[in-house]
């Protein structure tokens, strides 16, 4: 080969390599480069975001000004009580309105909304941009990325608020009576201490949990259903199992606990239960983690801030389990601004903005958030959440989905929630309630063609 040709080939190779490297850089922008490109393309546009009234939505709300500044996109928000958000979203979809672009999406709606095509399948967006360093989809805790917003390996929601079930308690009151966590690590011991605390503190009830008819009652019941060895469905099968002795014992346990709760608790959803605990009216809040930052903030919770600690769900005769769920961000399939909605979702759930989100009161969903020493120092409950996640993994490893993400779930939850609530108020015995619930759920599954 002549010198000239060799030289030309070398030059060409250099150019090709250089171009290749340049294209490589252009394919994966930095966060700031991405923001610039978004601003160039979408500045001046607007989108609508509807969210549930929830402790973590205030964290997102506080980031909206930054988002608008960084992207030039205006965000119109609407806040709806958790109980009514599902209907609002479904009615908007059915009416063809497309009024909402991004919404808060509960894990237990994912199956139904995916089946009804209410939510936009985000898998292609994730595949395209999910691996950017500053986004890093693989950084999400698997329990919440795969076990929450994903159905049939398709992403319908990206987790924004990771949740595990646990018990928050008044450490000052337990210390006063010499009660330690060792006295609370099984369901029998826990109940014993709840009974002991009855009447000990003026105007303070031993326990509070959500028990309003519907998914609130189911949420509370499920916190002890699995520890007692009960289950809704056996893994891979769809015959309801609520008439087993274990399932009945779990409901009897909850009914017993309820005797030591505030008298109007029959009507408590999560907001009322949170408020009761925050105002110092209960020793144990059998709930989940999202409200803990608020409980720890003296400006928000002057009565209990600095006086609380966390306990894992006590081990029951059936095992050591807790539940997991998450709130996700989803995009409406009817949205006329899906790309814009994805930009918002990407920003809010990005690894880059995770620190801001957590320090504003958000709930962790990423591995890096749990590993960030600065965040861990500011959020004392993170290690406790990890312990509860381990408990949740115990259940997941048996093949059980804590609340099955099937399209029929909201119907199942409403029927089961009715009967559980009837047991709570004494209108039915636990046996009657669960037999009726079992029959109702079987009918739902039969209608849906499961058998």
């Amino acid at each position: 080969m002549s010198k000239k040709i060799r030289s030309a080939l070398s030059g060409l190779l250099t150019i090709v390599v250089f171009l290749g490297l340049s294209i490589g850089y252009a394919a994966e922008p930095t966060f700031d480069e991405w923001l610039e490109s978004v601003k160039t393309e979408y500045a001046g546009e607007s989108l609508t975001f509807v969210m549930a009234v929830h402790p973590t939505t205030s964290a997102m709300t506080s980031m909206l000004a930054d988002f608008e500044r960084d992207t030039g996109i205006k965000v119109n928000t609407e806040e709806v009580q958790e109980n009514h958000l599902h209907d609002k979203l479904l009615l908007d979809f059915v009416s063809g309105g497309g009024n909402y672009d991004v919404f808060y999406l509960d894990t237990c709606w994912v199956g139904e909304f995916a089946r009804k095509r209410v939510t936009q399948d985000l898998t292609s967006y994730i595949n395209r941009e999910g691996q950017y360093d500053w986004y890093d989809y693989d950084d999400f805790v698997t329990a919440w990325s795969k076990g929450s917003g994903m159905i049939d390996n398709r992403v319908h929601g990206v987790p924004i608020n990771g949740e595990v079930t646990l018990i928050v308690y008044r450490k000052d009151i337990l210390d006063k009576y010499g009660i330690t966590e060792d006295d609370l690590d099984t369901t029998d011991k826990f109940l014993e201490q709840v009974k002991f605390l009855e009447g000990k503190e003026p105007d303070v009830y031993p326990v509070v949990f959500r028990s309003r008819r519907g998914h609130n009652a189911v949420y509370s019941y499920f916190q002890f259903l699995y520890p007692f060895g009960g289950t809704l469905f056996n893994p891979g099968e769809w015959e309801p199992q609520l008439t087993t002795a274990e399932a009945v014992e779990a409901l009897k346990f909850m009914c017993e606990l309820k005797k030591y709760a505030p008298p109007s608790m029959e009507n408590f959803g999560v907001e009322e239960a949170n408020t009761t605990f925050r105002s110092g009216k209960a020793v144990f809040w059998v709930g989940a983690n999202p409200a803990i930052p608020g409980y720890s903030n003296p400006e928000v919770s002057p009565v209990i801030a600095g006086k609380i600690d966390v306990l894992q769900i006590p081990q029951g005769p059936g095992g050591n389990y807790s539940g997991w769920t998450a709130w996700n961000l989803g995009v409406s399939s009817r949205s006329r601004k899906k790309d814009l909605a994805w930009v918002f979702l990407q920003y809010m759930t990005s690894k880059e903005k995770g620190y801001d989100y957590i320090t504003s009161g958000g709930s962790p969903v990423r591995i890096s958030q749990f590993e960030n020493l600065e965040l861990v120092e500011k959020n004392w409950h993170f290690p406790e959440m990890l312990k509860s996640l381990e408990q949740a993994a115990n259940l997941a490893n048996t093949g059980v989905d804590w609340r099955p993400r099937i399209p029929e779930w909201t119907k199942i939850s409403e029927e089961l929630g009715y009967y559980v609530a009837m047991a709570f108020i004494g209108e039915m015995t636990p046996e009657q309630a669960l037999e009726n619930a079992n029959n109702a759920i079987r009918e739902i599954m039969e209608d849906a063609g499961y058998y």
Binding site: L90, R213, G214, K281, E414
Partner: protein, 289 residues
């Protein structure tokens, strides 16, 4: 016949409006009640199932309980409201001093948006920090749980009474003022007490208005929703779950079973139509007399 021919041009716009706003939706409701269809699924996925939704309604404990709660509510609310309205209107008729200020204040409950009413009363009845319990605790040392199993239904009836008694009282007062005063004066002149005059003179004379009031209140009470939803949402359990609330829950609130909700709505419609027929028949009979 000539009158109908002449008036058909005037009636046509009204008939179009009634057809679009009432007749077509009712036929659609009946059609849906004969199908299994869930909100959110395509229209093409509806399945005709005949009268199965009605059979389910009349054999299902939950649904029959909501019907029972509705009848119970109508009975207690309407009976109490009419009774109190008769007493109040008679009192105002006999004691007219300050009447115009009292009458003015009596318009307020009915002028307020029902949902706002319900939210306000929810705050007032809150056991831990509502004003009702503060008053009861101050006077009697009692702090009842108004949202509990024993009192939630009572609370619902009380709020409905607060809302409707003033309005009913005003109607009855107008009725009293329209009747000649001589029978009442004669009654007092004969030495009858206020109670005796009320029972043997006023009530018989007001009977037509009272009857109309009862029927109209019953029609409205059967459809109750705007008070229940914000106040108790049908709880605790289903102790205040009236049929309208149950229809909403089945049709929209997490269940979305439109077919079943439509069947329940048809049942409610039949009840209301029956009451309306009674009302129309009664007023027509009065006109004939």
């Amino acid at each position: 016949m000539v009158g109908i021919k002449r008036s058909k041009h005037w009636m046509t716009p009204m008939l179009i409006i009634i057809t679009v706003a009432a007749v077509i939706p009712i036929f659609l409701l009946i059609y849906l009640s004969l199908h299994r269809w869930e909100l959110g699924y395509p229209w093409s996925e509806r399945v005709f199932i005949g009268l199965r939704n009605y059979k389910w309604f009349f054999t299902s404990t939950q649904e029959l309980r909501s019907l029972s709660v509705t009848f119970k509510f109508v009975f207690w609310a309407v009976l109490t409201e009419v009774f109190l309205a008769v007493l109040i209107s008679s009192f105002l008729y006999k004691n007219p001093i300050g009447k115009k200020y009292v009458v003015f204040s009596m318009v307020i409950p009915i002028a307020m948006t029902p949902a706002v009413n319900a939210f306000l009363w929810r705050l007032y009845f809150t056991p831990s920090h509502g004003i009702i319990n503060w008053i009861l605790n101050t006077l009697f040392g009692a702090t009842p749980n108004w949202f509990g199993t024993e009192l939630a239904f009572v609370m619902l009836v009380l709020v409905d009474i607060w809302r409707w008694v003033p309005f009913l009282s005003l109607i009855l007062l107008a009725g009293l003022e329209a009747i000649p005063p001589e029978p009442l004066e004669a009654s007092y002149a004969e030495g009858a007490t206020w109670g005796q005059t009320l029972l043997y003179v006023v009530v018989p004379m007001l009977k037509p208005i009272i009857t109309v009031g009862i029927i109209l209140r019953m029609i409205d009470a059967f459809k109750l929703f705007d008070l229940v939803f914000p106040l108790t949402a049908g709880g605790p359990g289903d102790l205040t779950e009236v049929l309208s609330m149950h229809i909403y829950r089945y049709g929209f609130f997490d269940i979305g079973r439109i077919g079943r909700a439509s069947a329940m709505a048809v049942v409610l419609l039949v009840i209301v139509i029956a009451l309306t027929a009674v009302y129309v028949r009664y007023t027509q009979r009065k006109e004939e007399v």
